[in-house]
Each structure stands twice: as C-alpha cells, then as structure tokens.
C-alpha cells in the first residue's frame, strides 16, 4: 500500500500556527506512507494537478489531504483522485485548520496535534475499501411547501421549466405576507398589483397542483423518491362547487370571528373568503365561531349558497403525493406584542404592529385604506413608529436584526403623510439599516421630503393619557428623555420563526438554529441547499428577508431543483450499511432500530433468516452497526475496523 499525504499551508491559515514542514517530515515516518509533501493551496487547480501527478509518479494508491474541514472540500478531492484513476473512497482528510490551526495558540502543540490528525487519517485510509455508487431513477416532481412570494416564485420557475409542482399552503389562500402589504419599498409599488398576477399564474398553471388550507403530515423517502402525506384540512365548503360569490359571507350572522389575514385589525365572519384577490377564491368556515358548530343551529350559509357547497360534516382528508425534491418556503411569524409589556401592545388598542398598520393602509383592508385609530375610528394625526420592537434584544432571546423593519417603517411613514397630509410621524430607531439598492435614498426621502422626525433612541414606556398614547423614550443624540403624545403607535415587531418550524424541520430532517430558522448547507456558497440532499430553502424560513431576497432565493432553489432533475438517474451514496450473511445470526435487532425502516428480513435458500438492507432507503447513519451483536452489519466507509484503526492510531502513540 502506498499512501500519499498532502499537507496544505492554506496560505497563512494553517502554516501560521502549524509547522507544516515538520508535519510532512513526521508523516514520512509513518509505515505505509510513500510520499508526503506540503502545498500552498492544495485545493487550487495546480494543487489538484499536483495530487494527480504524484499519484502517477509515485504510484500512490491511497491519498490523505491535511487541510480544512472535510465538510468543505472532501468532495473536491474525491473527484480529483477519481480523475487520476483511484476509487474516490481511497481518500481521507485530516482537518488541521478548523480543528487545529484556528483554535490553538501554541505552535508546538498545534503541530503535534496536526501530526496526530494525519496519523489517524492515514490509519483510516489504509482500511478503506473501494465503494461504487449505483444509480436509481428519480421522480421529477417537486414539492413546494409554502405559498408566499418565495414559494410561488419557486413553483412558477419549476413549472415553467416543465416540472410538475405540488404546492402546499397552510392558509386558505396563497400570497403569504406579501399579499397583506399595501405598498412595497423602495419603489412604492402596489404590493398586490405585482403579486396578484403571480397568484393567478399559480392557480392557472397546468403544471402546478395547489393544495390550499393544507399541511404536510408526513415525509418519507429520500432525494429522488419522496412520499408526502398531505392533510387537506376541513373547510366545510366543497371547493369544487364553491364559486367564490361571497353570498355566504355577507349573510353569516356570526360577525366576530378572528381575522387571521388581517391580523385581527377588524373581525370577520365565521364563513369567509380571506381577501378579494384570494387564490383560490373559496369560502371556508371557522368552526370556532360558526353558530352551526358552537350552538348546533344556524345553517344560514347552507341555505343561501347557490351551488349547495356547504358541508358541515366535512372532515380532514389525507392525500399522498410522490416527488423527487422539496423546496421549503414556510416563511416567518412576528413576535406576539404581549411579550413586550412596556409597549402595551395587545393591552391598548391604539398600539398596533407594523403588519396591522399595513392592513389599515391597504385599500382592500378592513378600513378600505383609511387610516383610523382602532379605539375610536378617528383619523390619527400624530403617529409614532417604534423600530426594533423585540429585535436585537438578547434578553428575550432575539439577538438578531429583523432585516426589513427599518425599510417598511420608512415606507409606512411616507404613506401616512400621503394619506393624511397634516399628520406628523416620528420614528424611534437604534440604527437605520438600509443597505439594499435604492434603500438608503428611500429612508432619506422619508426625512427630507416627508418631514418624518427620526429620533435616535429607545422607547421605555407607552401609556394612555386621555385619548392619547404617551410615548416616553430617549433621544440619545440629545442625551435626554423625550415624550410624544401620539394618536397611534406602530411597533416594528421582531421577525420570529414559525411556532411549528422545529416540528417541520424534524419531518424534513433538516437543521434549525437556536432561533428556529432553517440552516443552509453553507452560509456563503450553498445558501439555498440544506444538509439533506433534495431539500432546498427559499425565503424567510432561513432568516428574516425582504421581498427581493425571497424572490431571488425562490428562483435559486428552483434552479437547483432543475439541475438535480437534469439527469434521469441519480447516483446513490455507497456509504450505506451492508450485511455479511455469513455472520448474521438473524436476530433482526437492526430491523427494529433502523430509523428509516431500511432493513428487512430475508430468507436464504437454506432457510436461514438474515437482515437485508434496502439500498435506496438506507441513509447511512450506522445505528444498525452499533446495534448488531456480532458485527455482521457494517456501515461502509465507517466500519468498526475503520473507526478502531483511528482510535488505535491515537492510543498507540
């Protein structure tokens, strides 16, 4: 066996705190190592060429690269050695950057640690076996979860590229948060005017199958072959018959239902169509408020419906769809104002959230676009905006910036002036964050053209005084406290992950951060991929994001799916479990522990029962291997022998 070891300087990243020459020198003494050298940037093109040449020149049959994390470049180097004729699994990486040079301050100890890391990698690579992928057919349909602007963009791009799309939206209409907005910054485009056509396209596209008011119940399978269970929640209205005429809504006697679309700005009816441009434009009953459900009698809508679409007996229905890839675009939520008691939101009617104000501004909103105070329906003249309501506050577990509040507050302040010319707006801010194209100019316009008073400081308390709300805060530039007697207070509430984000992540086997946002595969280079192949991210489920960024990610995710589906067959990862039928005693403990039901029992010709791995289903976790009492089932590339070789390499030093 002839192992070749390449030790990377990584410029100064490694060589700065590790004596790479010494590492090479010590490596040459390891039995089995035929060649060891250092290189400035091993991952560069000449660096990879050097590996290929050395393989031929030195007749190397196993390669170790001591450089950065294998999570970074393992795949790169596997391809390199494959091009030089070696099996790609005859390769190991020793992580001497993230795990050594960047975290240790003592050069001598770092060097020692690097040498040992190489020793372990050499021990492992000498145990490696050639592995070969098999290929399998993929189902070229894609599931998009979430029908906000990111999800719709992804769905439309996929469908336009000829893919069949299953779009699942949990609320009764697609459109998401953007459908609720009045105008968009920094162009002051009418939000629904630019979103509406997209929504119609989604409804009419022959390649898109829309499940509105539906949720993901269960996900099984793997990249290329997923089985999705979708729960169609009961709407109590047969949507195949409902024409969206709205007669039911007009006559419904239960007039105090919570309006989720309007964030409770005004009540709605127990049977309702969420908004005029809804897609699909169908009615649904909220059984929490419907008298037929709460009191057992009413039936007004059933009598009035011209197509007899009402069905009080309707139950949830589960349907199954098969797809090959998933785009997650589940969006975000906003912090509950009651978690910020000093502002009095939720307690005082005239303290509202930014999204509620958006509904007041909106011509199709509950006030038909007239700005009025929720308490007495009078037009407010003094409006105070409080940015960072909950954001950037470690003490309540939200250390991050919510990204777009600075911008929509500037927009709302501008629109307020347009709606009520004799009004005066104030904005309490910590920093104005407006780095997008045309963004900073926009916030300047708010101040220069629209006379919005920006106050650099925080608000400490908001309390009622007569009909006014007193906003007391600080102007840190003046170094004093200030008070404003406002008619209306708008809180730029923090963006938070959906309450069921973690639950959804578990179904998808993707990671989420401490705030509940989904984690991308690489923060810079793989921003829409996840660590689970076949699952992609778009929009604010990955972190607070404005419309252009969400749309961009939706398209990016769609193009990733297109690239994945450009082949008819996918290569499977051969690092999966294998059973040695000679040593398997048929106890089938592995069958019961496998998290993926990837192991079945199989009867051999001689009547013996042994475990059998379903190659396409095995995800390669290795739980079975550590369960097996006789070592008969081994996770390839991470076998007992391979891992123990690493342990031994360390312990025998």
């Amino acid at each position: 066996m002839r192992v070749g070891v390449f030790i990377c300087h990584c410029g100064n990243n490694i060589a700065g705190t590790v004596d790479v020459a010494k590492v090479a020198e010590e490596t040459r003494k390891i039995p089995g190592v035929a060649y060891a050298t250092t290189y400035m940037y091993t991952c560069s093109e000449p660096g990879q060429e050097e590996i290929k040449e050395a393989i031929k020149r030195e007749k190397l049959d196993r390669i170790v690269v001591a450089a950065c994390s294998p999570r970074m470049h393992e795949l790169t180097f596997r391809r390199t050695i494959e091009k030089a004729g070696l099996n790609r699994y005859f390769f190991e990486m020793a992580n001497i950057r993230e795990h050594v040079s960047w975290i240790g301050e003592n050069r001598e100890l770092n060097t020692k640690k690097a040498i040992e890391a190489v020793r372990m990698a050499v021990a492992k690579v000498m145990q490696n076996k050639p592995l070969y992928s098999s290929s399998f057919k993929i189902n070229k349909r894609v599931l998009v979860i979430g029908g906000g602007v990111a999800g719709m963009q992804a769905a439309l791009d996929c469908a336009d590229g000829g893919l069949e799309v299953v779009l699942v939206e949990k609320s009764p209409s697609v459109g998401g948060m953007m459908a609720r907005l009045d105008k968009t910054f920094p162009t002051v485009d009418c939000s629904i005017c630019i979103l509406g056509p997209k929504m119609v396209d989604v409804a009419q596209h022959e390649k898109i199958k829309l499940y509105a008011f539906s949720e993901i119940e269960d996900i099984k399978g793997y990249v290329g072959n997923y089985q999705i269970k979708i729960k169609k929640k009961a709407t109590y209205v047969d949507w195949s018959k409902c024409t969206g005429c709205g007669a039911c809504m007009e006559k419904c006697p239960s007039k105090n239902a919570y309006d989720a679309f309007n964030f409770g700005v005004a009540p709605t009816r127990a049977i309702n169509i969420p908004f005029p441009q809804a897609i699909p434009k169908k009615a649904k009953i909220d059984p929490k408020y419907c008298r037929q459900f709460t009191k057992g009698k009413c039936g007004v809508c059933a009598k009035i419906c011209p197509t007899k679409a009402i069905n009080y007996e309707m139950v949830d229905e589960i349907v199954t769809e098969e797809v090959g890839a998933i785009i997650v675009a589940t969006g975000y939520s906003l912090i509950d104002m009651e978690k910020l008691p000093e502002y009095g939101g939720g307690k005082y009617p005239d303290v509202i959230s930014g999204i509620q104000y958006e509904r007041l501004l909106n011509a199709s909103g509950p006030t038909a676009g007239h700005i009025v105070r929720p308490s007495d329906h009078e037009e407010p003249k003094t409006i105070v905006f409080v940015s960072c309501a909950g954001s950037r506050d470690k003490s309540i577990g939200i250390p991050y910036c919510s990204n777009f509040c600075c911008m929509y507050i500037a927009k709302q302040a501008i629109l307020t002036k347009d709606h009520i010319p004799d009004s005066q707006s104030y904005v309490f801010y910590m920093d104005i964050r407006s780095p997008g194209k045309g963004y900073d100019e926009f916030t300047r316009r708010a101040q220069e053209e629209y006379g919005v008073h920006y106050i650099r400081g925080r608000v400490s308390r908001i309390y009622p005084k007569g009909k006014k709300m007193v906003v007391r805060g600080a102007d840190t530039l003046l170094g004093t406290q200030v008070e404003i007697e406002a008619d209306l207070v708008v809180l730029g509430t923090a963006v938070v992950a959906n309450s069921d984000a973690a639950h959804m992540a578990e179904k998808l086997h993707i990671s989420y951060d401490t705030s509940g946002f989904y984690v991308e595969s690489h923060p810079k280079l793989r921003p829409v991929e996840t660590n689970t192949s076949g699952v992609f991210l778009a929009g604010a489920c990955q972190g607070p994001k404005d419309i252009p960024a969400s749309v961009g990610q939706g398209s990016a995710a769609a193009s990733k799916v297109q690239a994945l589906f450009s082949k008819d067959m996918l290569e499977s990862d051969p690092a999966i479990a294998r059973v040695n039928i000679n040593t398997c005693v048929g106890c089938l403990k592995c069958v019961s522990t496998c998290p993926f039901q990837a192991i079945k029992d199989k009867e051999l010709k001689d009547g013996r029962v042994v475990a059998d791995v379903i190659e396409t289903v095995c995800a390669g976790c290795g739980v079975c291997t550590s369960t097996c009492p006789c070592g008969a089932i081994q996770l390839q590339h991470f076998t007992d022998n391979q891992l123990l070789a690493e342990v031994n390499a360390l312990c025998q030093m």
Binding site: S511, V623, L643
Partner: protein
C-alpha cells in the same frame, strides 16, 4: 484555559457526528474560538454510530477521556439516531466504574452546527475536568 495549556497534554478522543457537532467544531474554528489542544476528533456520520465498545477500547488502550457529541434531541439528521446513542451511552456511563474507570472521564453531549461557542465551552470544560482528574491510571483507579 491557560492553566490547562501549561500542563502535560492528555489524550482525549472525541467522536463527533458529521452533521451537527463536527459542524459546530468547524464553526468554532471559523470563529477562531480558542480551545485547549488535547482533543483529537474522529468523525462519524451519527452519534448513533458510536459503539460503546469504541469508548471502552479507547479508555483501556490509553485515552484519558472520551467525548461523544451529537445533534440536539429532535434535530438529528437521521431522525432519532441520537436517541439510540443517548440510551446506549447512558448505560455505558453506569458501567464504567465497574471497569475501574471514573465515569467523569466520559462525557456525552449535543452541540449543533451553529453553536461554535457552545462547542468551545464543551471542549474547555471537559479538558479542564480531565486535567483535574489527571492521566488515567487504570490499575490505580481499579484498586481505589
């Protein structure tokens, strides 16, 4: 941390799952979170792959401590591999004293890929704990 560095290094082996903890250690590196240098890391796909025998073998063959770190509960890349790990390794912790090994030499925890600071803390604390215990002397710990 400095007092740890001054002493003779100990042999500490860490089994880290590829998706969460290995990523967390990478994140700590990218963030330049300084750590003691005693730990050597073995990458496994899932903490559920860690056979308790690996830990025992390591300790009997010369390691002074073993750290296993996986994904947080309910955040496992392989659904629930980390639950299997926890069950097995909890058992192992109870068995170690019978092998004459102080069970504080073995630690099982979870660190996600984004938790670089938590990883730094985990490594620092575990290394500190082992330096307080000193090198593993099997015969001595058996007799006591």
């Amino acid at each position: 941390m400095p007092d740890v560095a001054l002493q003779q290094e100990l042999r500490i082996i860490g089994f880290l799952c590829n998706w969460c903890s290995y990523g967390g250690a990478d994140t700590a590196g990218v963030s330049r979170f300084k750590q003691p240098t005693d730990l050597r890391i073995i990458r496994v796909p899932c903490s559920g792959r860690v056979d308790p025998l690996f830990v025992v073998k390591a300790l009997l063959n010369g390691a002074d401590g073993v750290l296993v770190s996986g994904c947080h509960p309910r955040d496992c890349h392989y659904s629930d591999g980390n639950f299997y790990a926890r069950r097995r390794l909890e058992m192992l912790k109870r068995l170690l004293p019978f092998l004459g090994i102080d069970d504080r030499r073995f630690h099982y925890t979870w660190v996600s890929a984004s938790e670089g600071a938590r990883w730094q803390e985990t490594v620092t604390n575990f290394t500190k704990r082992l330096h307080e215990l000193g090198p593993l002397q099997l015969k001595k710990e058996v007799s006591s």
